[in-house]
């Protein structure tokens, strides 16, 4: 057995267990150094210098970019380090818009948080920040404000390293440096796909989720308008923590109750749309397998992934499933039903996703020029609406969703996590419907937080080779393999690392806290008496009655036709 190795932190020995940098050792030892630019998933940048520690010779090292060595002696907290950190904070604040009360990220800001922790009561330097919330209104998904940017580069590294999108980067040098698209063009014209991961990692309010709350309030309060709302699977496990409930707890019942109190007339679950997606996508997969055409089938639930495919790999669009996303399937049925009523209908979707705002505005999903989803609000925006209403979320008694769309399956709920769509499709495709098959699908390789998962499942006398990808950088890798001739039958793509639970519109949590959300969804699935989409009695009813004869018109879309 190898001998244990130790370093000394503030006089206390701490074991080194293969950590890449001192910061990770310290976090293990119960010391949380302040950082702006450090994210465990991104490359080390060392820009903010907040994590400085003093070595035994009095020198200063950035903990994030110094590897731990056995016998190393460091000090993390003394008068000199505190003075330095305060100095850095003051310098950042001197070039940062300080209208905190009017900021989207008020009380949800690392800079604000650290300024408070380090007791910043005065900034000695003149404020040079120029804030402009309307700097770039082109994106439907995110808003930017350079006056709040601290140049930590988190967004740039997320966009380039993890998502392989490359929409933004540093421009200019020295004090003129800023984050910009190429040639400073509007972000909507850049390669941006709207995934919102930049907003998720931004420590301040420089990049935030586009706010669509106002039109929702307006519709709720307008007389004669019927407001309906659908709630995506991943929302239910991400909202509780913001209201003092355990991280990852399924609070669907409370969300339904809150939405009713806010004033929505009918409250539904997007998981039913997901059940429909399972049915349509499975049928498409079986058809393509039989005809041996356009394989692998690419899933199309994720709008950021679709934009990525359109912008970077238009030649692969034929592989996209023609099935609409769960949100759009549900919305087209709701809007189709609404045409039979004289009341004006306003349909809202609560999503973990910023890119859904763009999807809702696509021409493909409009009826007579009006979008089927009138407004998309993210989990973050719903949290704000609940707070604005004065509702004490934690105290709400759980309520159930409305009929006639009130039955969903567990398969629809796990759509919110990477591998969930695949698992749901495999439950439908598998011929054997006994319990052990259901359990073995869960262990076939669909689950887990790995960015790329690859596995085989038997189907009749064939073996299906399946890929599950989350994070667009990983999508690029697997598309490369497909182009090089590697065979896949089905590939699931989710733009956000880990799937929708980690969506750009969710309240930000660190990667290590993500598992609780994932577990919350799998737990909700286990607690459902119906685990397979095709066994949802409502599905039968929809196909034999409500959408009979209109399945293609309501549930499918052809992304290839765009621009024709």
């Amino acid at each position: 057995m190898a001998e244990k190795q130790y370093m000394t932190v503030d006089g206390i020995p701490v074991e080194i267990e293969g950590e890449k940098n001192i910061l990770e050792v310290l976090r293990k030892a119960g010391i949380q150094l302040p950082t702006f630019c450090y994210h465990s998933d991104l490359s080390i940048y060392g820009a903010c210098r907040m994590c400085m520690v003093e070595n035994e010779w009095g020198g200063l090292d950035a903990a994030c970019s110094t590897p731990p060595k056995p016998g190393m002696k460091i000090t993390t907290n003394n008068a000199r380090l505190r003075r330095y950190r305060k100095n850095i904070l003051e310098l950042i604040l001197a070039n940062h818009c300080r209208d905190c009360t009017a900021c989207e990220n008020n009380q949800n800001c690392k800079l604000q948080d650290l300024a408070m922790k380090f007791n910043i009561t005065d900034v000695r330097f003149p404020n040079t920040a120029v804030s402009n919330k309307n700097e770039d209104l082109s994106s439907l998904c995110i808003s930017r404000d350079a006056g709040k940017c601290i140049l930590c580069g988190d967004c740039v590294r997320m966009c380039n390293e993890i998502q392989n999108v490359g929409a933004i980067d540093f421009a200019f040098r020295g004090s003129k440096m800023k984050i910009s698209t190429a040639f400073n063009m509007p972000i909507a014209q850049s390669p941006c796909v709207g995934c919102g991961q930049c907003a998720a990692v931004c420590p301040t309010g420089a990049i935030v989720v586009k706010n669509n709350i106002d039109p929702v309030w307006k519709a709720i309060e307008e007389p004669g308008v019927k407001t309906t709302v659908q709630i995506a699977p991943a929302v239910r496990v991400a909202i509780g923590k913001e209201f003092g409930i355990k991280n990852g707890e399924n609070t669907m019942g409370k969300i339904v109750a809150a939405l009713r109190r806010i004033g929505f007339d009918e409250v539904y679950d997007t998981s039913l749309g997901a059940d429909l997606t399972v049915i349509e996508e499975s049928e498409e997969l079986l058809e393509r397998l039989e005809d041996n055409e356009d394989l692998p089938l690419f899933t199309t639930c994720c709008p950021a992934w679709i934009q990525y495919c359109e912008k970077k790999h238009p030649e692969m669009l034929k592989n996209l499933s023609t099935s609409r996303s769960p949100m759009q399937m549900f919305a087209s049925i709701i809007k189709d039903q609404a045409t039979k009523s004289s009341r004006k209908s306003f349909h809202v979707a609560v999503m973990p996703c910023t890119a859904k705002k763009f999807e809702a505005a696509r021409d493909e999903f409009k009826t007579d020029g009006m979008p089927n989803v009138d407004a998309v609000i993210t989990t973050q925006e719903l949290i704000r609406m609940i707070k604005e209403s004065g509702i004490v979320f934690a105290d709400l008694e759980p309520e159930s969703i409305d009929m006639p769309f009130g039955t969903v399956s567990g398969a629809g709920i796990i759509f919110g996590v990477t591998g969930g769509v695949t698992e749901a499709v495999l439950r439908r495709v598998a011929s054997n419907k006994n319990r052990s098959t259901l359990l073995s699908i869960a262990t076939s390789g669909t689950r887990g937080m790995d960015g790329i998962k690859e596995f085989d499942v038997p189907y009749g006398d064939k073996t299906l080779h399946i890929g599950v990808v989350s994070g667009l950088g990983n999508a690029e890798t697997i598309i490369g393999e497909v182009k090089a001739g590697k065979h896949f039958d089905l590939i699931e793509f989710m733009a956000c690392p880990g799937g929708c639970v980690n969506g750009g519109g969710q309240p930000f949590i660190h990667r290590e806290d993500l598992d609780a959300r994932v577990d919350g969804l799998y737990k909700a699935d286990r607690m459902h008496s119906i685990r397979r989409s095709e066994e949802n009695p409502l599905i039968d009813h929809l196909y034999s009655d409500i959408i009979k004869g209109n399945v293609h018109r309501l549930l499918h879309v052809d992304y290839l036709k765009k621009g024709e």
Binding site: E287, R428, S431, K433, R532, K548, G549
Partner: protein, 82 residues
């Protein structure tokens, strides 16, 4: 009118009766056969095998593998609709 029934008894259910129903449903949608085929469920027709699903077409009973539902529909149901 073609009378098409799929067994949803225990054995057929576990062997994928819903898969067969879903595929039949989609074939009817694809070829718009709602005025030519009536799809329904039924209980045990006495041909349980533990791996196949019992299907009756105008009272002729078949036991089919759910993977072959699409081919079965094309060969045994579609010709009756023309």
């Amino acid at each position: 009118m073609v009378d098409l029934k799929v067994c949803i008894g225990t054995s057929c259910h576990v062997s994928g009766a819903h898969n067969v129903i879903m595929t039949f449903q989609h074939m009817m949608e694809k070829y718009q056969l709602y005025d030519k085929v009536e799809l329904g469920g039924t209980f045990c027709m006495g041909v349980c095998s533990g791996t196949t699903v019992a299907v009756s077409v105008n009272d002729t009973i078949y036991a089919i593998a759910p993977e072959s539902a699409r081919t079965f529909f094309k060969e045994h149901v579609l010709p009756l609709c023309q």
